[in-house]
């Protein structure tokens, strides 16, 4: 059992919007061990950001408790704040500030003396590649440059626990890759515990070692991306034939070989969903060859987290991405 970094018990947050109570987070129990890299995944409005805001002391829980880095978020918020780093959805730097000045102020805010803050600012300017614009005003920076500055500010006091709220929203693919690279490096070099929220499936899949799927304010699944996929969604083998009757014959053959496979026949295309599909595909092709059913094309697809979400909730995350708005909810509160 690893050392505990976050432990919540029955964490709940209600908002009152137009005299109606909205239960954004409902009795969340979460445990994050030291050194874990966890993604909270869910559609907009699922409660991930609200959860993050409670864990970072920006929002007081309606009920339940949360202990972060050894301190209770309600009883001792200052101790929690000193221990954690936070990279929010917006840009943390003041627009009229210079990059170096803002890093310096940030260091002072975490109790460093002037000399220590200067040294640390210089270090981060180096490691996050901010040198070229370190003495420029923040409002003159590009989106990607501002995001790097946000990371630098979140790391000023070398926190053992870092929260990232939708870190890659609004970034182009290059800057997104750049951000992922920084996150991985932090883990590798400092063993920083990280909790990030995202509604980008690929991000959760590639970056996180553990994915907590949240929907309607509750945890509905919690495991490694690989295990989630094998538990909640099988591989998908798509076989195409020249004739419809070949596809129908192939279905009988497939069901004979792969027990528990789910098949879907449309015209001359047969879709097979099953666990270990990649390993089974060659065997399947050989069997079809033996029974003289000519296969025109084959494709094996690994399941995505979207398949997981779809199977868990009956809804697709991709469709949800555009609707609902957790942000609006929080501003109103």
């Amino acid at each position: 059992m690893t050392e505990t970094m976050i432990r919540t018990s029955g964490l709940t947050r209600h908002f009152t919007v137009k005299k109606q109570t909205v239960e954004a987070v409902r009795g969340l129990d979460l445990h994050v061990g030291k050194g874990e890299l966890v993604a909270l995944l869910g559609p907009n409005g699922a409660g991930k950001s609200t959860t993050l805001r409670m864990l970072t002391t920006l929002l007081r829980p309606t009920a339940g408790t949360a202990e972060v880095a050894g301190h209770d978020v309600t009883a001792d918020p200052r101790a929690v704040r000193s221990a954690i780093g936070y990279i929010g959805q917006g840009n943390g730097a003041g627009h009229s500030q210079r990059v170096r000045d803002e890093l310096h102020s940030q260091g002072r805010a975490y109790g460093m003396n002037a000399a220590a803050a200067r040294t640390r600012a210089a270090e981060l300017i180096g490691s996050l590649d901010l040198e070229a614009f370190a003495d420029r005003v923040v409002s003159s920076l590009s989106g990607g440059q501002r995001r790097r500055l946000d990371i630098a500010m979140g790391l000023i006091h070398a926190p053992e626990l870092l929260f990232l709220d939708e870190p890659s929203t609004g970034l182009d693919p290059q800057n997104r890759a750049n951000l992922a690279e920084h996150v991985r490096r932090l883990r590798a070099e400092h063993g920083t515990t990280m909790v990030l929220t995202t509604h980008y499936l690929e991000e959760a899949d590639q970056l996180a070692e553990r994915v907590v799927v949240i929907d309607h304010g509750r945890v509905i699944a919690d495991d490694t991306p690989e295990r989630l996929k094998s538990a909640y969604a099988g591989d998908r083998i798509t076989l195409r034939f020249d004739h419809d009757r070949d596809a129908a014959r192939a279905r009988t053959c497939v069901l004979g070989i792969a027990d528990g496979a789910v098949t879907d026949l449309t015209g001359a295309t047969l879709q097979v969903r099953l666990d270990g599909g990649a390993e089974l595909a060659p065997k399947l092709l050989r069997a079809l060859d033996d029974t003289l059913v000519p296969v025109a094309a084959v494709e094996v697809a690994r399941p995505t987290l979207d398949d997981v979400f779809l199977n868990l909730t009956g809804r697709s995350l991709r469709e949800e991405a555009a609707t609902g708005s957790e942000q609006k909810l929080e501003i109103a509160a």
């Binding site: 929002l59 009229s96 940030q106």
Partner: protein, 251 residues
Amino acid sequence: MSTFVSDTATVFSRELRPVLRNPFSVIFSMLQPLVFLALFTPLLPDVLGSDGSALQWFVPGIVVMSCLFGTSATGSNLLFEIQTGSHERMLVSPLGRPSLIVGRALKEIVPMFVQTAIIVVATIPFGFELHLAGALLGLVILAVFCVGLGALSYTLALASKNQEWMFWAVQQTLIFPLLLLAGMLLPVDNGPAWLRTAADFNPLTYVVDAERALFNGEILSGTVAGGAVAAVVVAALGLLVGTRAMRRVSA
């Protein structure tokens, strides 16, 4: 207590730094009071001042006015930082909540000093007579008032974080009645009774009267004491509601 002082110092110097880096921003914001001085003073009857000079009567009013304009709008900086995410980043840091508003409010004193110095220097060649001791004490009272007004402006920003128009609507609605009822541009002494009563309830009236007395060298007087009390009341009120509003943000 020591963390309160150091946290406040951190917030204060963060706020002040862009001003120091770009002092012209303060000077540009000075154009308006100088235009008022240039265009308004010639219209004033000379009988206004105690020694018959319109400038002697008008300059202290303009000093308070430029403080009023600059400081009451300062909440818009916080409003902008709330919108960009910069304020959230301050809230998630261990800085004490009262310091977040006190440090910001204290910073307002600095541009006020600079502006006053510019107004005085610009008017001396035109016959404004400076009484240094009184003027310095006037600045102290004005500084206290400034901190209170700044805190109120930040409170307004926190209250209108979801609708920016509300900040400007309230600020613009309040600023001109306050300004005119304080007898800053025109004396209210000859106005109708209701107007004089309204002026009596305006704390700014006492501050303006005190500044006039002090800038004309009159130090030990009830007018000055009244101004000092009004400034302290505004400062106490501003810091009280401001601190409470800042504490409530993360509730």
